[in-house]
């Protein structure tokens, strides 16, 4: 290495090889393996690490409360604004059909099925993934690219324990309340629409509601909301912690968070609903 041309020159050949057809194929296979195995594997590893970090002391109450408040602030009003027309449109669609069949007094029953069991967890999912998850991913991602997460690790603090666990719990915890909020606001919207605009009677609405509804309906919806919250929190954390490439990287991570969370939540919704119907006997009319 004492003469100038020598340094590393012999290694140029390796680099050139990567640009050939073989290199491209290898790149393609790498990409496939990445999508099919590595990413889910890493996500699962993060879930396990977060699970372990959950039991570490001290519990980050302050961060939990701050994050809960933050999630409420970005989701509460949009949730209500989505839930009111949702209840109304269900009454309108189903109410119209039911009136034609001459069974208008059962509009309340449809609200149970539609709103409490399905719509409210789904609206919650949309809001949790779209508003809370994306904001959380942007926050964690920008911390990552500003090297704040690295700095935290170097200061001897586990970012999963300090940042991710409280966020995940906050997401799940607020998910529970949002689900309740959507149920109540949606039912009220449906009730108002049915009674005031479709000439339904309050008694029929409530009586048919009670005939169909049972406590496990609400419980399964709450379980869904809780699981959705955990999922949204974990996906946001995973994507945020793996953001790279500057502000654009954070934007990409947020985008992917929303899409992946939606897909996962709809899948989970289906699975939990299927399980619910298997496990809990339904009430007859």
């Amino acid at each position: 290495m004492t003469t100038a041309p020598g340094i590393g020159a012999n290694r140029r050949g390796d680099q050139a090889g990567a640009k050939t057809g073989g290199g491209r194929m290898a790149k393609f296979t790498d990409g496939l393996v990445n999508i099919a195995v590595k990413e889910p594997g890493r996500f699962f590893a993060l879930c396990l690490d977060t699970f372990r970090a959950m039991f570490k002391r001290p519990v980050q109450w302050r961060e939990f409360i701050e994050q809960s408040w933050f999630i409420v602030s970005v989701t509460a009003i949009p949730t209500m604004l989505v839930a009111i027309p949702f209840g109304a449109i269900l009454s309108m669609q189903v109410g119209g059909l039911i009136r034609q069949l001459g069974a208008q007094s059962f509009t309340g029953a449809t609200a149970v099925v539609a709103i409490v069991r399905e719509a409210s967890p789904l609206v919650t999912a949309l809001l949790i993934a779209g508003a809370a998850g994306s904001a959380m991913c942007a926050d964690v991602g920008s911390r990552k690219i500003r090297e704040e997460i690295d700095a935290m690790e170097v200061l001897g603090i586990n970012p999963l324990h300090r940042l991710i666990v409280p966020r995940m719990w906050a997401c799940a915890f607020i998910g529970l309340f949002l689900n309740g909020l959507v149920s109540v606001v949606g039912l009220m919207g449906g009730y108002v629409f049915n009674v005031m605009l479709q000439d339904g009677t309050p008694g029929a609405y409530l009586a048919s509601f009670n005939a169909m509804a049972q406590l496990p309906d609400l419980i399964q919806a709450e379980v869904k909301a809780f699981v959705f919250g955990l999922t949204a929190g974990l996906v946001a954390a995973y994507k945020g912690l793996n953001a790279k490439g500057g502000p654009k990287g954070v934007g990409d991570a947020v985008n992917q968070t929303v899409v992946i969370t939606f897909m996962l939540l709809f899948l989970e919704n289906f699975l939990i609903s299927a399980l619910y119907f298997q496990l809990v006997p339904q009430k007859g009319m």
Partner: protein, 371 residues
């Protein structure tokens, strides 16, 4: 007292891309070292590997008696408490003001009262010249201030190892000079092992005890400051003198034809510039790990380039040193380097061939001298 870091055969790849391989060096306890290298040679990656943020593919990193890549997560977090790290942009927590940022490690890791924390934080803020900016958020201050705040946060737990990633990027020359002085003063005060990653040649020439140079996925050379500053190795020479003539090209390295063309044009590598005297602590004390000027050159029989060790006041530190040691505490001198044991070498003769290679510059260049 700082901790020795011993790196053995370290290799890091990202996918198929080799960042560097077989890097071996020892950062002596309590000394200041600088790691240089053209942009994109993985200096920051090396720094992050030293704190365990990135896992090397092969090799060992001994921090005292702990081998970093093989530690459990808990042991790793424990070991990291020895470190203070200044990241390139300071890496301050954006949601906290400067005071809380700097107090963060104290609140997390110690049981100090708020009054004590306040005293320590203000002391560190004063040290980096940030008094009055306690309530500012990181988004409201300049890059230089962020960097100084990051340094204050890195220092707040009195680390035994301080890693500094490009302290001078984005700083004006005056602030860079102050920051360099601050690093030397800190070393004198807390005797931490310090590694600075930088591009700034002036910093590299005047601050450290040791210099290393990464180029083309390898550690080209690591050793005492004087060894590299008097080296004829083309890469080292080119980089430390910021020249275009040499193996380092615009993109990465020059190919053979470019170098031949350069040789045909008769590009003269020129004389080595004089070795500047090393920066001393501002209170005049001698650092415990300070090497007397000319120590390595003398031990290896290398003639320094003419004009070396002469400061801006015209003092020749090869002659000045014994007097200085006598005035500022001989106890702090490394054994065998005091004025009684080692008379100063004769001032460099004017006119000898400065390019005469030293004995250590023949075959294998890396890791000369004591390392």
């Amino acid at each position: 007292m700082g901790v020795e870091i011993r790196v053995e055969g370290l290799t890091k790849t990202f996918g198929r891309q080799v960042i560097w391989q077989d890097v071996s060096l020892t950062l002596p306890a309590g000394e200041i070292s600088v790691l240089l290298g053209p942009s994109g040679t993985g200096k920051s990656v090396f720094l992050k590997s030293l704190v365990g943020l990135l896992k090397p593919d092969r090799g060992n990193i001994w921090i005292g008696d702990r081998n970093l890549p093989y530690l459990s997560e808990n042991e790793l977090y424990e070991t990291r408490k020895l470190f203070g790290v200044l990241f390139q942009d300071g890496a301050l927590f954006g949601s906290m003001n400067l005071f809380d940022n700097i107090a963060f490690p104290l609140r997390e890791h110690t049981r100090k009262t708020e009054a004590e924390i306040k005293r320590i934080v203000l002391e560190k803020m004063e040290m980096v010249g940030l008094i009055g900016a306690e309530r500012k958020l990181p988004g409201e201050i300049s890059g230089g201030m962020k960097k100084r705040a990051g340094l204050a946060r890195a220092l707040v737990l009195d680390p035994e190892i301080l890693l500094v990633d490009e302290p001078d990027s984005g700083l004006d020359p005056v602030r860079t000079a102050y920051l360099n002085q601050l690093i030397v003063d800190l070393n004198a005060q807390i005797e931490a092992t310090i590694l600075i990653v930088t591009h700034d040649i002036n910093t590299a020439r005047t601050v450290p005890d040791n210099i290393g140079l990464l180029f083309r996925r390898e550690l080209v050379m690591f050793g005492p400051r004087e060894m590299l500053l008097s080296s004829e190795e083309p890469v080292v020479r080119q980089f430390l003198n910021a020249r275009r003539q040499g193996p380092i090209g615009m993109s990465e390295e020059k190919d053979v034809s470019e170098l031949e063309a350069e040789a045909r044009m008769g590009a003269d590598p020129g004389r080595l510039p004089p070795i500047p005297p090393q920066l001393l602590p501002s209170d005049g004390r001698i650092r415990r790990t300070q090497h007397p000027p000319g120590e390595w050159l003398r031990a290896n029989g290398v003639q320094p380039p003419p004009g070396s060790f002469i400061d801006e006041m015209g003092r020749n530190w090869l002659e000045e040193w014994p007097r200085y040691v006598a005035q500022h505490g001989g106890a702090a001198m490394p054994a065998g380097a005091g004025p009684a044991q080692a008379p100063p070498p004769p001032p460099p003769a004017q006119g000898p061939d400065p390019h005469q290679p030293g004995p250590s510059q023949g075959g294998a260049p890396p890791a000369g001298g004591r390392y």
